[in-house]
């Protein structure tokens, strides 16, 4: 079954490459607009060989990870306060909902003015893109903890902070995971978007350089890398955690 699905996928992607090559061979567009799969592959190999691609991936990932850690820590804290203190929810909670609707690139001008062309500026955009998704999911998770868990924990002597750390947060974990997953997706878009506009190292920078040099194969090669990283993190990190959590929490 699994092998069948994998075979289907491989055939599909191989098909895309074949069609791509055929369209390229028809010579409809100039090679500056429509590169061949081979050119893109050569560009990837070149980027790996001279280290520029590896360095760009490392730079973007570093910014992503720092930004995401800040978002997760901040979002959980904010979500807990919103869930536990009603006036925090009524005030900051409404602001969080508003900020969540701001597209990540809309933070870039502000980040440039505040931080200039620095890593901090790009990380700021990453945090602003992902913080509120984590916050909102933490809040819903805390609000949806079954009352029987809380009753049982109080019955066994838990109170105050213990209730939050030992019962509510673990009970809310399935929600937290979907918050992290959403947060990571938004953060990834935020990092790349900010890097394109900042044009200061990273994969977004490579995209921008490709555009400036009219190097279409570099643009497409970089986009492929961005997509593959997305698929890998989603599949290797989040799908696995999610599957485990869902079955253990009895949700699967």
């Amino acid at each position: 079954m699994r092998g069948k699905i994998a075979a289907k996928k491989i055939a599909f992607y191989a098909g895309i490459i074949v069609v791509w090559q055929i369209v390229f061979s028809l010579n409809i567009w100039s090679v500056h607009i429509f590169p061949s799969p081979v050119q893109v592959a050569q560009d990837l190999a070149y980027g790996v060989a001279d280290g520029s691609l590896i360095f760009a991936i490392a730079t973007s990932m570093w910014r992503l990870v720092v930004g995401l850690i800040i978002s997760i820590a901040g979002g959980i804290t904010l979500g807990i306060f919103m869930a536990r203190i009603e006036s925090v929810n009524q005030t900051i909670g409404s602001l969080v909902l508003g900020l969540q609707s701001v597209p990540s690139v809309a933070w870039v001008p502000l980040a440039l003015l505040w931080f200039g062309l620095t890593d901090a500026g790009i990380i700021f955009v990453t945090v602003a893109s992902s913080l509120f998704a984590v916050t909102i999911n933490t809040y819903s998770g805390m609000k949806n903890v079954p009352t029987s868990y809380i009753a049982a924990a109080r019955n066994m002597g838990a109170s105050g902070v213990q209730l939050i750390t030992h019962v509510m947060l673990p009970a809310a974990f399935p929600y937290l995971i979907s918050g992290f997953k959403q947060g990571w997706a938004f953060a990834w878009r935020g990092v790349i978007g900010a890097e394109i506009i900042f044009s200061f190292l990273g994969l977004g920078f490579l995209l921008n350089v490709g555009r400036e040099l009219n190097d279409i194969s570099q643009v497409i090669a970089t986009m492929l890398v961005i997509m593959v990283i997305g698929i890998l993190i989603d599949g290797l990190v989040f799908k696995k955690i999610e599957r485990k959590v869902m079955s253990r929490w009895g949700l699967a």
Binding site: A151, G157, A171
Partner: protein
Amino acid sequence: MTKLEAKNIVKHFDHNGNSVLALDGIDLKVEEGDFVCIVGPSGCGKSTFLNIVAGLEKPDTGEILLNGKSITTAGPDRTMVFQEGALFPWLKVIDNVEFGLKIAGIPKDERSQISQRYLDMMQLTKFANSYTYQLSTGMKQRVAIARALVMDPEILLMDEPFAALDAQTRDLLLVELQLIWERTKKTILFVTHSISESVILGNRVVVFKNRPAKIKKEITIDYRRPRLAEDENLVKYQQMILAELKTEVRAQMKREFEE
């Protein structure tokens, strides 16, 4: 010695904006080491009463005394076995059982010593490292009982713990619970809507009248243990209780049809 005393417990509920009297002055004494069952129709307020004893809900008036001292908050001196188990799915069976001990700050070595004893008693040793989603409903209730006993409570509260079990599992646990009670000499207050359960388990059966709940009758059952579900000598006790409850159930149905 009186272990637990409920004095004139009154509780109102908010029902669609109307205040409804749920408990109308419940007075109950439970002696140390006694096994008391409260039986009544569904929704009569017996679980609410148990929650008040546990300190999970507050009465409008009246008080609960434990060993003569008034109690107002929830605490591990009155652990409860909930109907739906309320086990924590993120913890292994052993960690569920040790939860209250951990909260109390008891060191790990001592914790595992205590939990081992109760895992043994509930025949859960093999499942110590399982997660709750891997257990049957009956197994889950065994864990819930172990988790409550581990705290060595002054009184064990049980809120329809066997209501969701299949008949065979329930009959088995009914016998086991009697053996555990004899072994641990715990005071137990057990709430159920099942008359047969109440006469198998209880030394005393307290019959709750419906809406508002009031104690209608008390029956003492002086009969050898362990009592089995199929024991015909228990039928006469069942019939005594049924006679009390019949009028209650009829009244309830009449009300529901009229509403």
